[in-house]
């Protein structure tokens, strides 16, 4: 995933500012005030999650993804929640917690199937190592 891609200076600045806002506010609403904004810019927020993982640690990034999932679920915008679950699975893998990686990758696959995204579900299944 985009963890391997170098950030452009503009993106680095943007993410840096977001990180500061998120850490100061301690709440997702400070940087993602609405579910619709989040839903439309999911790729951006997912890439920010990777940035957060590198700068603040994978546990913080996992919590961030969990908040994103909750926000989308509460607003009944469940399409693409699987992407966030896969990202969480990847973070758990980085932390060496294989059981959580498998649980979240499996949950991602199920979420994709529920929203009819079978190609993505197939991709999620490949992450399960159990």
């Amino acid at each position: 995933m985009s963890a391997d891609q170098d950030l452009t200076p503009a993106t680095e600045r943007e993410f840096g500012a977001l990180l500061q806002m998120y850490q100061v506010a301690g709440a997702l609403d400070a940087i993602a005030p609405s579910a619709s904004l989040l839903s439309k810019n999911l790729k951006f927020y997912t890439e920010f999650a990777f940035y957060l993982g590198e700068k603040a640690g994978y546990r913080v990034a996992i919590e961030f993804c969990d908040l994103l999932v909750k926000k989308l679920s509460d607003a009944d915008r469940k399409r693409n929640i699987g992407v966030l679950l896969i990202v969480e699975a990847q973070f758990f893998d980085e932390l060496g917690i294989g059981m959580s990686r498998d649980l979240f990758a499996l949950e991602a696959a199920e979420a994709f199937v529920r929203s009819g995204q079978y190609r993505a579900a197939q991709t999620a299944l490949k992450l399960v190592a159990a």
């Binding site: 917690i97 059981m99 959580s100 498998d102 159990a130």
Partner: protein, 334 residues
């Protein structure tokens, strides 16, 4: 882990799969993976109240959250333990249920619905102990641990013209395999010089004591029975007085906070109860209905009478959690 997927591929896949057979195949793969993963979680633990949960987490170690349905506010976590042979195994944790039989039943059913391959559940908490000031072997003291091989629900009664008949004495008993593991641990108490010998739960009690506020063993002067004991029986019985001693017997369960020594003694005379708590019957009933084996493990924190205080609660929670952990590690080693 396999190669990390491309974010764009996931959000904007080149070609969706529409073939019904291929879709069915993916669903089968998911079902198969689900069985493989969730089959690793064979045990669960439940606590009723926050300090029991805190003690359990301190003794068992850090738990990881499991992904959960977003329409549920209850999060299930899991713990990773190792048995005596060094093999890793997983335990689901339901968190706190709240006091009461119905709440405990609901939590047990929830665990089973979310972790369908869980086979055994252990309820870890505190309880009032049945004192026996004349018999050293039978005296359940503060800081001891009681494990229920039998359970009665003493508030499930029939009252007819002043007569009270117990109806709640047909609850399923504790799980045989778990009790078997308890027996093996109990054998450590039966050896000569046992009180001085280290037990598998000792280190866990120390761990809990270091991590939780007010979790160290209170002074014996905080035991209201300390000056009242006049042992006449069981004098040859070897037991420890400064660490938990494990008792196995009938536990009385009811949605009742017990502070009545006469009532308590009456229950003991009629039903042989050695401890009293508020959730066990719920777990027993729900476990029986969902195909689970259960065990009730309780640290003794008071005597269920008007001398009841909170002084021993945290230490008792830690002791119960420590013994429960030893039981799980023992049963998984078989």
């Amino acid at each position: 882990m396999g190669k990390a997927p491309n974010l764009t591929d996931l959000l904007e896949p080149a070609a969706e799969i529409f073939d019904p057979n291929e879709r069915a195949g993916i669903r089968r793969q998911i079902a198969s993976a689900k069985v493989k993963i969730y089959r690793k979680i064979k045990y669960a633990i439940i606590n009723a109240i926050p300090h029991e949960f805190a003690s359990t987490m301190a003794v068992f170690g850090a738990a990881e959250v499991m992904p959960h349905p977003r329409d549920s506010s209850v999060r299930i976590e899991y713990l990773t333990l190792e048995d005596r042979l060094g093999e890793r195994f997983y335990v689901a944790v339901a968190g706190t249920t709240g006091q009461g039989i119905a709440q405990a039943a609901a939590a047990t059913a929830l665990i089973k619905s979310r972790c369908e391959f869980v086979r055994k559940v252990i309820l870890i908490g505190i309880a009032a102990g049945q004192e026996n000031l004349r018999d050293m072997e039978k005296d359940v003291r503060l800081g001891d641990v009681v494990i229920g091989n039998k359970l009665i629900q003493y508030d499930h009664v029939k009252r007819t013209n002043g007569e009270i008949e117990l109806r709640g004495d047909d609850l399923p008993p504790g799980d045989k395999q778990l009790l078997n593991a308890v027996d093996r641990l109990l054998s450590l108490q039966e050896r000569k010089g046992a009180p001085a010998q280290p037990k598998p739960w000792d280190d866990y009690i120390s761990r809990g004591g270091e991590a939780i506020r007010s979790a160290n063993r209170p002074n014996v002067s905080n035991d209201p029975n300390s000056s009242l004991r006049k042992y006449e029986k069981g004098l040859m019985y070897e037991r420890t007085f400064d660490k938990p001693h494990i008792h196995v017997g009938t536990i009385g369960s009811a949605s009742t906070l017990l502070k009545d020594s006469s009532y308590r003694n009456d229950l003991a005379r009629k039903h042989g109860t050695i401890a009293y708590e508020m959730e066990g019957a719920g777990v027993a009933i729900a476990a029986s209905m969902t195909g689970l084996g259960y065990l009730n493990v309780r640290g003794i924190c008071d005597y269920g009478d008007n001398r009841k205080s909170d002084d021993w609660q945290t230490y008792a929670s830690v002791c119960a959690a420590a013994v429960a952990r030893a039981i799980l590690e023992e049963i998984h080693s078989i």
